[in-house]
Symmetry: C2
Subunit: 391 residues, 2 copies
């Protein structure tokens, strides 16, 4: 086991009706002027935005609003948010939405207290030294941004989708998780979120660090639970308990508890980010295509973790099978599971008939260098092989 | 699933040599005068106390020392610590030790800022409104106090051992967990700690709240890992990785993550506290006796969780067996496992040949009222039956 630091200080308020506490929570966390950040029409149509406004008004909390966050959130809106903070002296950022909205809010929170352009943080030109506090009302269990110190933003001009990690300053002060708010999520978005959270665990599970059994068992436990609950939420979108289990699992998948004491991988995420940049696909759906392809290729080189996953999580029986057969069955079962949720498992099913694999590989290594990943260090020939496997 | 709030803000610094960061961490957390609290000779003999002193001195941090914490820590030493804080203006409490030392430090931290007697918090006469910050150097994985907001103190005059829960004010600011510091723990103490952490999970696992699958899977994962690593640390006390897995598991067992969304039980802990009060036994060893007896009795009334535990954690095969047989085999396996670690599983083995069961039952219900527990609500006849079962 490697030395590690783990700190997940976010206050999680979980359950029915909890969004009505948002005004009180902002006040307790020192807010005096709140900037609400949200995406499209669903938080308006559902009445959630109104309830948030009411909760703030009930506490006499002044607030402004910034709507229009898109999936794969873009740099332009972050800059608008930063200008709003400067113009109107907001001191607390309140995203109401999913990962894209939260990530935008975090970028605004850090950028507002920085003299240069916020994109410097994402390119590595500057590091976050301070940020405004952020509180979350979550509506999409997927990205885990409600419990993480991470944010991913796409730069439209440079076509780069880059993640930034700064747990010290970007973990939310509080996150309100009401499973009822997820009842109206379309099936495809629900399934994509489920895939995203599973791959957040896989990125930590595929490691060469030995003797981290406790972290394995927790990761496997969260995966088992997600796979048990996922078919229920697809079959019955208003199943409160299934939605609740999935919502909490999404946080646990990405707050770091599934990765303590080990070197993590993250190659699949980097490879998917290039897909999202070039083709604008839904992140979780892109992962359903990329991850099994990644696993197929790396398992030929480094099989041991894929075997354990197959046996402990994917219910493959070892009896009478070679390691190769166990792993192949595990990957097939994983693909089958995601397919059963309505997700694509090939680039073709994702709507990309003729992928420009050379461009994907080129962009990937321009952004992330070479090699990428840790479980198997991927050079250009291997990343090309993975994108080919994903066709 | 029930609504819940979960906040575990402690900063965990885990790994080899991490105790040398303690001066820097105290400073970062606002300390200007530190009171070190410790127990007996082992932290002196091992040189740990000297390393802590050096780390504080290196940061020019003034400090005082209060040694002499005993297992089942007592109220008298808390009062001495509170007087020291008042006399010497300490503003940070630094326990170096296990649960007893940390619990004493938390009691001092809360009592020092209270006008009345600190014991009021434990009897429920007052609630903790504020406390000095606490940082931890952990040497015994067991109580989980390094990540919890709990403290248990024994009042010598009244012969009461009472736990206090106040996550808002009593969670440590930081906890330093170096598995190397546990190499010299005697086998019996190691095993008792392992039992304590397992029962911390069981107290949360035995619930009538339905549909909390994610919490089940995490709890089962931590239990599986503890049972995999425990024989290794008993066989080889200097096995760093096994010690590391056990140390992290002990924190996870009690920071609340294994109980989210459900009503918890805690009857076994209450019943063991009476044993400790009357006979001065080691808490974890007492639990190895009380818990299987509790499980035997309550499973006759409410069997469903014992069956799941037997199948998922204790490796009982269901084939050809009735539920009663599955549960009985599960309980037998648990007793066998604890026995294999060198723990007692009967009151007799614990050295109590002629337990005064009437006194235990009487004290229990005087302290905790009636009924106690939630999974099965225990009246005096049932608690008597459990103590009898434990003989």
């Amino acid at each position: 086991m490697e030395n590690f630091v783990f700190c997940s200080p976010t206050n999680f308020i979980f359950g029915r009706g909890t969004e009505n506490q948002v005004g009180k929570l902002c006040k307790e966390n020192g807010a005096t002027r709140v900037l609400i950040v949200y995406g499209g029409g669903s938080v308006v149509r559902s009445g959630l935005l109104d309830r948030v406004r009411t909760a703030l008004t009930d506490e006499n909390m002044p607030f402004g609003e910034l709507g229009g966050v898109k999936p794969n959130p873009e740099d332009d809106l972050v800059r608008i948010g930063i200008e709003m903070v400067h113009a109107e002296n907001f001191d607390f950022i309140l995203p109401v939405g999913g990962g894209s909205t939260i990530d935008t809010a975090k970028a605004i929170a850090a950028g507002a207290l920085y003299d240069g352009d916020f994109w410097d943080f994402y390119t590595g030109k500057a590091t976050v030294q301070k940020a405004l506090p952020v509180g979350v009302v979550l509506t999409i269990p997927a990205a885990g941004s409600e419990g993480s110190g991470n944010t991913v933003i796409t730069n439209i001009a440079t076509k780069q989708k880059i993640s930034l990690r700064c747990p010290e300053h970007l973990r939310p002060q509080f996150s309100i998780l009401n499973p009822e708010l997820t009842f109206t999520l379309p099936a495809y978005q629900t399934a994509s979120g489920i895939c995203d959270m599973m791959v957040h665990i896989f990125e930590r599970y595929f490691t060469n660090t030995t003797e981290t059994g406790i972290t394995d068992r927790i990761a496997e436990g969260v995966l088992l639970s997600i796979m048990e609950e996922a078919p229920k939420v697809i079959a019955n979108p208003s199943d409160y308990d299934a939605r609740a289990n999935i919502m909490w699992a999404g946080m646990l998948a990405h707050n770091g508890i599934c990765g303590t004491g080990r070197v993590e991988d993250w190659a699949s995420h980097f490879m998917e980010h290039e897909l999202s940049s070039l083709y604008g696909v839904t992140h979780g759906a892109g992962l359903a295509v990329v991850f099994p392809a990644w696993l197929t290729v790396v398992s030929r080189i480094n099989p041991h973790r894929a075997k354990q996953l197959a046996l402990r999580v994917l219910h493959v029986s070892a009896e009478g099978k070679t390691d190769e057969e166990i792993i192949a069955e595990g990957i097939a079962r994983l693909r089958q599971f995601w397919h059963s949720l309505g997700l694509p498992i090939t680039l073709k099913e994702l709507g990309i008939e003729n992928p420009d694999i050379d461009a994907l590989v080129r962009n990937l290594h321009i952004t992330k260098g070479e090699p990428i990943g840790n479980y198997v260090k991927l050079d250009r020939s291997l990343t090309k092989e993975i994108y080919e496997e994903a066709r």
